[in-house]
């Protein structure tokens, strides 16, 4: 165990359904393999149906809190770029943002009961441009989905940003981007963005991922090596 590592704090942010809890489990197992204390925190239930999700992983010599404190993240892993920006709560100037170059648009719809069916079909139309500049009904003020440029400009004011086309790469290679998160954590271990050996990550993948999907996940791990 590297004696100099007192603690390492990771926050993973994304949207419900991106597999954040699986990534948390893999990193936690890898940290345990290397002899660290580890604690994590996650949320379950309705809030996970496509809403904002944030999970915490801490490992090191002595860990008490399962939650990362404000401004104490060493690494923020953003599976979605707008969510990464929300993650700045946990960032300081040394924080590294490892980002999946992907924006999942937030459906912003004006409350318009007369055309509810039109609204509904629009929502179900994944690429619909109408989604972009509508109305934040909760705050009753006009807000928009942020662009990649806006997000990067803001993130760079705070920490170091590493932007990786993980979803795109996985889509191209495997015809699915479901493994984008696996690609990112594997890459993080190869590039020393997480102080865990790649071997520990691959061992943890084997432990956590069900047999049925293991081959795809191990291929993803290998693909990250050649980035």
């Amino acid at each position: 165990m590297p004696k100099n590592l007192e603690k390492f704090n990771i926050v993973i942010v994304g949207t419900g359904g991106q597999g954040l809890i699986t990534l948390l489990q893999i990193i936690a197992e890898a940290a345990l393999f290397e002899g660290y204390e580890v604690r994590t925190s996650e949320l379950h239930g309705l809030s996970q149906r496509g809403g904002s999700v944030e999970v915490h992983i801490r490992f090191g010599q002595k860990i008490y809190s399962p939650l990362v404190s404000q401004e104490k993240a060493d690494l923020i892993l953003g599976l979605e770029m707008q969510e990464a920006l929300r993650g700045i709560y946990f960032a300081n100037q040394k924080t590294k943002f490892l980002l999946n170059k992907q924006i999942i648009l937030i459906p912003l719809v004006k409350e318009d009961k007369s055309s509810s069916s039109a609204t509904e079909s629009r929502l179900r139309d994944e690429g619909g441009k109408e989604r972009e500049a509508l109305f934040d009904f909760a705050a009753a003020r006009v807000v928009k989905n942020l662009t990649e440029t806006e997000i990067l400009k803001n993130l760079k004011k705070i920490g170091k940003v590493i932007l990786i086309p993980a979803a795109e790469t996985c889509q191209k290679e495997f015809n699915t981007n479901v493994v984008a998160g696996i690609y990112l954590i594997s890459l993080a271990s190869f590039k020393n963005l997480i102080p865990l050996k790649p071997n520990s990550i691959s061992r943890a993948i084997k432990k956590i991922i069900p047999e049925k999907y293991l081959e795809l996940n191990l291929k993803t791990f290998k693909l990250a090596k050649v980035y």
Partner: protein, 558 residues
Amino acid sequence: MLQKPGKKIILLGNEAIVRGALESGVQFVSTYPGTPASEIGNTFFRIDKRAKIYFEFSTNEKVALEAAIGASFSGLKTLVAMKNFGTNVALDALIPFVYTGTKGPTVIISADDPSCHSSAQSEENTRGISYLVHIPILEPSDPQECKDFTKLAFKISEKFKIPVIIRTTTRVAHQRAPVKLSKVTKPGNVIGEFIKDPERFVTMPPRVLEMKKELLKKIEEIKKFSEKSPINQISRGRASVSSKLGVITSGVSYLYVREALKELNLNLPVLKLGFFYPLPEKKIQNFIKKFKKVLIVEELEPYLEKEIERLAKTANPKLQIFGKNLLPEVGELKPEIVTSTIAKFANYKLKIENLLKIENWKLKIPKRFPQLCPGCPYWLVFGAVKKAVDPKKVIFGGDIGCYMLAGLSPHFLQDYLSCMGSSIGIAHGIKKATNPAFAKASAGKQKLITFIGDSTFFHAGIPALINTVFNKSNPLIIVMENQTTAMTGHQPHPGAPLVPNGIKIEEIVKACGVKNLKIIDPINQEEFINAVKEFLEKSEVSVIIATHPCIFVAPKNA
């Protein structure tokens, strides 16, 4: 979950509770799912056959507890798990159970959710029921303690013949950390025997008052046990500061306190309370008697703080007690809140690293609310209702399930939301209040539609439906039959068709005396729209069973 002893494996708090129960030799487990307690039932559901124990998803928490009471009366080692609101539902059965006491040791898991991450109806602090019920409550901080405290709770229950509550919170139940495994105790003979003993199992006056005396005596005995218990632990600080200041805490707050003290490089004495009830009063009094100031770090209502104020009156009347004057009473604690509070308490200057002043950033990131899954049948139900009526002119009753999302964009079909099953009960009250019998036929006549899921209907909807029939009101009730308990992770419920010989909701509805009943797959939009229009005009209660499986339910004939 059934692995060998001696190993250290990463477990979720809820999984550690299961492991603790298995190591204790649990024989009978019942539950109704609810976040953040659901994984306890899910784990037992997965392993019950291999572990050779009895497990059931009960129809609601009261029934789950009653099943557990029956198992305990029959001598079995029993665990029952639920979320906080479930404990409210079960309360009617819980209070007499504490009077009769247990035969087979019984542990009840009750999971709170400060900040309401997965709880709609209120931010509850279940610790408060200890005063009402006189039931021992233990509060673990992490998965290791989840396991250890579950085992201890079984021991306490066995020794004192009383049920014991383990109260978790989201950050404990959904915390993962390595847990050291011990030996799983084989459940042995899981065939219990009910031995008649009316003195013990029948609560009726005048015996019930004797039982109360016995209960209070028991609690005094458990208090002595609590005084000596190592789960109420003191860590002494360095002499220089420790003579004046101390911290008392429990549950996950303890972990934030330790984190804060490390961060601030402060070494204050800390009393960590594993028992919330009964409190080790002498231990607390000894701890506080030399201090000038004490800080109570607890989430939500200041129950500990009030107890300590009382105890300080004799032990240390001059003691300055800090707690909710520095900490929030609403919302969960976070490590940064506890760190800044302890810094304030100890007059320690916190290095302000907050150069970025994040809170001043005017970042307009739109909120990302949860959504119904793509392909969810509820889209079809809400869509049809909107086409059938003018939503501005109809009242919409909500209930507990994924369909609570009716209240959010783009649906906006939810005008009230309370507890399980209440969409129907409240609908009846609204209909009665707004359409009283003595009003002329031409009066107001506000129309009302309620949405209730199938699992919620079984849980608490049926008595309310009977009431609308018996007391004659006419809401339109849409039972969303998606064939699963979707929101908490797709646990089974008693309904057909997934359960062989399952109960058909339409038969219940008919048996309740409902005449206006249609069963429609909402994929047939036109039929659904017409049924809504037709039923809203009826003078008696109407029910549409919107039947279409959740996308996570395997197609029946696949």
